[in-house]
């Protein structure tokens, strides 16, 4: 039982990182129905910006977070502007958009390999307090580190921030309006392109935070670090119901737990195959995800 609870705690911290990444996938998918394959690589860029901020600029980790968010937000806008918008305006088939997204992803990964070199780098120690806290709950003992608490807190703050943006600001309402019906949104005077850019910026900034957190969590960053978390976050988004913000959060946490349980009770080498198997099972049996509704497709 104690072991199980310990796995849950581990799953919670990794799950919240997945949730942060999944949010970006889900928002972009919700608004332009595109799987942004490059999203995981934006996370990687965020991790490197954070690294540069603490190592070269000697900034504190909190400034590193902010700087990483800012830079990747710009990167997100740039990607959308250069690669996806021309296709969207031409009304290109989704296959073309998806292949372009794969192209952007490969571009970022290999530019990373070229610029940052393939070697693994580590964030300097002591950036965030990482002390184990022993907790006893109803006679069961388990350990939580202060770092795990920090991850949860950061995720929580960002989720509140997102909630505020999406539900209380004008831009957030515009985002939801465009996702709902882009032509009707245009009739309201909403600049659809600008709104899409903003969505990319927001999603990318969240990915950057996840990138820095992952860098701290595994104490290692490399140019290909975004691929697996990216794919898994996508799976998390699908699991929760793609296009749904609460779905991304639920999906992220569920995936985190699942991974923790598979690695804890079976084998960490089986973790990835199991997660992919899960994806396929959801796609087959509940493609609208845990929180989505199945709909009759109109011909």
């Amino acid at each position: 039982m104690a072991g199980f609870l310990q796995q849950l705690v581990n799953g919670l911290s990794l799950g919240s990182i997945y949730a942060l990444v999944a949010l970006g996938y889900t928002m972009v998918y919700g608004i332009i129905q595109l799987i942004n394959f490059a999203h995981g690589d934006v996370l990687m860029v965020g991790a490197y910006v954070g690294f540069a901020a603490v190592v070269f600029l000697k900034l504190s980790i909190w400034w590193a977070f902010l700087l990483a968010m800012g830079c990747t937000a710009l990167l997100g806008i740039l990607i959308e502007r250069v690669a996806y918008r021309p296709l969207r305006h031409r009304g290109a088939p989704r296959l073309a958009a998806l292949i372009t997204a794969i192209g952007v992803s490969l571009f970022l990964e290999n530019s990373g390999l070229l610029l940052f070199r393939p070697e693994i780098r580590s964030y300097p120690p002591g950036l965030i307090l990482n002390r184990p806290l022993s907790i006893s709950l109803g006679g069961i003992d388990f350990t939580v580190t202060t770092f795990q608490v920090t991850i949860l807190a950061v995720t929580g703050i960002l989720l509140l921030f997102l909630q505020y943006i999406v539900y209380w600001t004008k831009t957030g309402k515009a985002m939801r309006a465009v996702a709902d019906d882009a032509d009707a949104a245009r009739l309201m005077g909403i600049d659809v392109d600008k709104t899409i850019s903003f969505t990319f910026a927001l999603g990318s900034a969240f990915a950057a935070v996840a990138g820095v957190l992952l860098g701290l969590y595994y104490n290692a960053i490399d140019p290909l670090m975004g691929i697996m978390p990216g794919l898994k976050a996508f799976i998390a988004a699908v699991l929760g119901g793609i296009g749904l913000i609460p779905g991304a959060v639920l999906g992220g946490f569920s995936l985190g737990f699942l991974e923790a349980l598979v690695s804890g009770y079976w084998s960490s080498r089986m973790r990835d195959p199991i997660v992919f198997l899960l994806l396929i099972l959801i796609l087959l049996f509940k493609p609208s995800g845990l929180l989505g509704k199945n709909q009759v497709e109109k011909v």
Binding site: Q295, V296, V299
Partner: protein
């Protein structure tokens, strides 16, 4: 036995009834019109008849066989073909290929024959080519043979879609707004063409149409749908003078608006 029998057919989208208890009887050789205001459920009816949707309840019998739940391609093979309101051609393929593809289910050879180019390949391909040529000539599409379907003028695209449907050898042909986007002259031509088509291929025709001159001039019997319900059935004259139909189209006459 009627060619097509529809009983109590109903369909709903997200709780909204799109069709409610539709009953129809179509005899071999009939030419029938389906009319009704926007959103009345006409295309939904076609989608149910061709297996695109599964009805909420009700039955559809074609030549005595219950076809509810069959996938669209099986229904086509039983003898129902259709065209679409927004023309769905194989746009990047040539006119020639569009017609060849539609003969797929009745003129074919095995996968092994195809991979190894065994003798039946050439024989069947020649048959396909002959029939394709014949159809293109009949429909006046021969000059466009090697054009991509999407590059054809609008009227020719409509004609190609009908030709493609015929290549699938239907007994019952469903036409969804064949006259949409045509001017009066073209519509008159289409009318003559449809009459000829019906005789030439011994078809039974069911057509959704908004152009009343076409429907009234062509059809023996007209079904009128409104809000998913069948509100009238009859000859053109009967339907034109039916108060419910007039109301569906022109709205109620009410006098509570001061000018």
């Amino acid at each position: 036995m009627a060619l097509l029998e529809v009983e109590n057919l109903s369909m709903a989208f997200g709780g909204l009834m799109a069709l409610l208890n539709i009953n129809m009887q179509v005899e071999e050789g009939d030419l029938i019109g389906i009319i009704g205001p926007n959103g009345a459920g006409k295309t939904t009816l076609f989608n149910l008849l061709t297996g695109m949707y599964r009805p909420l309840r009700g039955s559809i019998r074609f030549r005595g066989q219950d076809i509810v739940g069959l996938p669209p391609h099986k229904i086509t093979r039983l003898g129902i073909a259709r065209t679409f309101q927004n023309i769905r051609l194989f746009g990047d393929l040539t006119v020639w290929d569009n017609i060849r593809i539609a003969q797929h289910w009745h003129r074919n050879y095995g996968l092994g024959v195809a991979l190894l180019r065994l003798p039946p390949f050439h024989r069947v391909e020649e048959e396909i080519a002959r029939e394709t040529q014949l159809l293109l000539e009949m429909f006046g599409l021969e000059p466009y043979k090697h054009e991509k379907a999407r590059n054809l003028p609008y009227g020719e695209q409509r004609r190609l879609e009908i030709a493609r449907a015929l290549a699938a050898r239907p007994r019952l042909l469903l036409l969804d707004e064949p006259a949409a986007g045509m001017n009066p002259q073209e519509t008159r031509e289409l009318m003559a063409f449809l009459k000829w088509l019906k005789e030439e291929f011994a078809l039974t025709l069911l057509l959704i149409e908004h152009d009343m001159s076409l429907v009234m001039g062509l059809c023996q019997r007209i079904y009128v749908l409104d809000y998913g319900r069948l509100i009238a059935v009859g000859t053109p004259e009967e339907v034109q003078n039916d108060p419910q139909v007039i109301e569906a189209y022109l709205g109620q006459e009410v006098n509570d608006f001061a000018p």
